[in-house]
């Protein structure tokens, strides 16, 4: 059985201070805002509503603080004990290299030609010293290969785009065209389809 035969629920971490400022956090961390903590709890309530018996699922989070904290809040709001998940490094956010912590406007001011190349082919583009979505996609693919049961996955904006590309088998141009998940709500992947559930 492959991961495409499983039902997977994907949740992005709640809003962080960097999200508010438009900064790319990458593999640093930024604290959840008060709204971000509420985002996480709302995702837990959605999960409880749509996923049935939650004891059927494995739970995985990125080990970065904003995602693991979201997992704790989500599980509690879904009526589960906070602990009882695995934190896996292959769910860590994309590495933004030397541009970690910058906004897109700041990146454009530093190197407009490089940012124009992003517009042409986002999936294979990378920041100086960072990694591309194509590379991130290979990493999350290795994570998905380890799954044996239906699962709930709490991760990041770019990681969730890479997960979607792998789960649905999207070619790079189509994967790049699909939007970032919001900071709250649950995406269900089942039977080769994607469905978003807001609160």
């Amino acid at each position: 059985m492959g991961f495409r035969d499983l039902t997977l629920y994907v949740i992005r971490h709640g809003q962080t201070e960097d999200n508010v400022a438009g900064r790319w956090t990458g593999r640093n961390d930024s604290p959840l805002t008060a709204l971000g903590r509420e985002h996480a709890r709302a995702s837990g309530r959605v999960l409880k509503r749509i996923a049935g018996d939650l004891s059927r699922y494995d739970f995985f989070a990125s080990p970065l603080h904003r995602a693991s904290t979201t997992m704790l809040l989500t599980r509690a709001a879904a009526g589960l004990p906070e602990l009882g998940y695995r934190a896996d490094r292959r769910l860590t956010e994309n590495d933004d290299g030397d541009w970690t912590g910058l906004t897109v406007d700041e990146m454009r001011a530093i190197d407009p030609a490089h940012m124009a190349r992003r517009d042409a082919d986002e999936w294979h583009w990378k920041t100086p010293g960072g990694q591309s979505l194509a590379e991130l996609s290979a990493t999350v693919g290795r994570f998905l290969e380890t799954l044996t049961r239906d699962s709930v996955i709490v991760c990041h904006g770019y990681t969730s785009r890479a997960l979607r590309a792998q789960i649905l088998g999207l070619p790079p141009a189509e994967a790049a065209a699909r939007a970032m998940m919001p900071n709250t709500g649950v995406v269900r992947f089942a039977d080769g389809k994607e469905e978003f559930f807001p609160e």
Partner: protein, 195 residues
């Protein structure tokens, strides 16, 4: 100004479940145990005794959950708000590649042999060497401008110490960082509190 002119308080995260299970945690994470949470609070109380004015310090943590939770618990125990620190990826634990989450007893014998042959330069498959981590820790230290509290991991703490004290690879490799206590680096010397 060099980071060697600053006073640095280097701390490891509190005890975690994977420490008890004798697993390689590295860039995965596991929850702090009850003892680990108490170790974090104790570090905060120690810092409050050691430093007359904590407000003059910068605070940095590894972005891995166990280090940030340790930071938040210690800040609260020191009388500070939980937030108010920076999480920097250069403080993450050494990357153990494909051996992450293995129990130490399950690490292949050939891997142990390569580490014994050249412990400073050996890498686990897809991971970092101690020399790689030494360079990464140096890049972090070069960014510091004020005295700082740094919450990190066992091998990274040993590496920050070696950078600060200007130690040889052999001296860096022989140091074991405890889960408890605070290491103060100041005026070219080290002092350990509460370990």
């Amino acid at each position: 100004m060099s980071f060697r002119d600053l006073t640095l308080y280097v701390l490891r995260h509190g005890e975690c479940e994977h420490n008890l299970e004798q697993r390689i945690g590295s860039h995965d994470d596991s929850p702090l145990t009850a003892k680990g949470r108490e170790q974090a609070r104790e570090k905060g109380r120690l810092l409050r005794e050691m430093v007359p004015d904590l407000a003059v310090l910068d605070f940095y943590a590894s972005p891995l959950h166990r280090a940030c939770v340790t930071m938040e618990l210690l800040r609260e125990a020191a009388g500070l708000p939980a937030s108010g620190y920076r999480a920097d990826h250069r403080l993450m634990e050494i990357h153990a590649g494909d051996h992450i989450w293995l129990a130490w007893q399950d690490v292949p014998a050939a891997d142990h042999a390569s580490f014994e042959a050249d412990p400073w330069n050996a890498r686990r498959p897809g991971g970092e060497s101690r020399a790689d981590l030494f360079a990464r820790a140096g890049r972090f230290l070069a960014t510091l401008t004020r005295d700082a509290v740094i919450v990190t991991h066992g091998v990274t703490a040993a590496t920050l110490r070696a950078q600060y004290l200007g130690l040889s690879p052999e001296a860096c490799l022989s140091y074991q960082s405890p889960n408890a206590g605070v290491l103060r680096l100041s005026h070219g010397t080290e002092t350990t509190f509460g370990a």
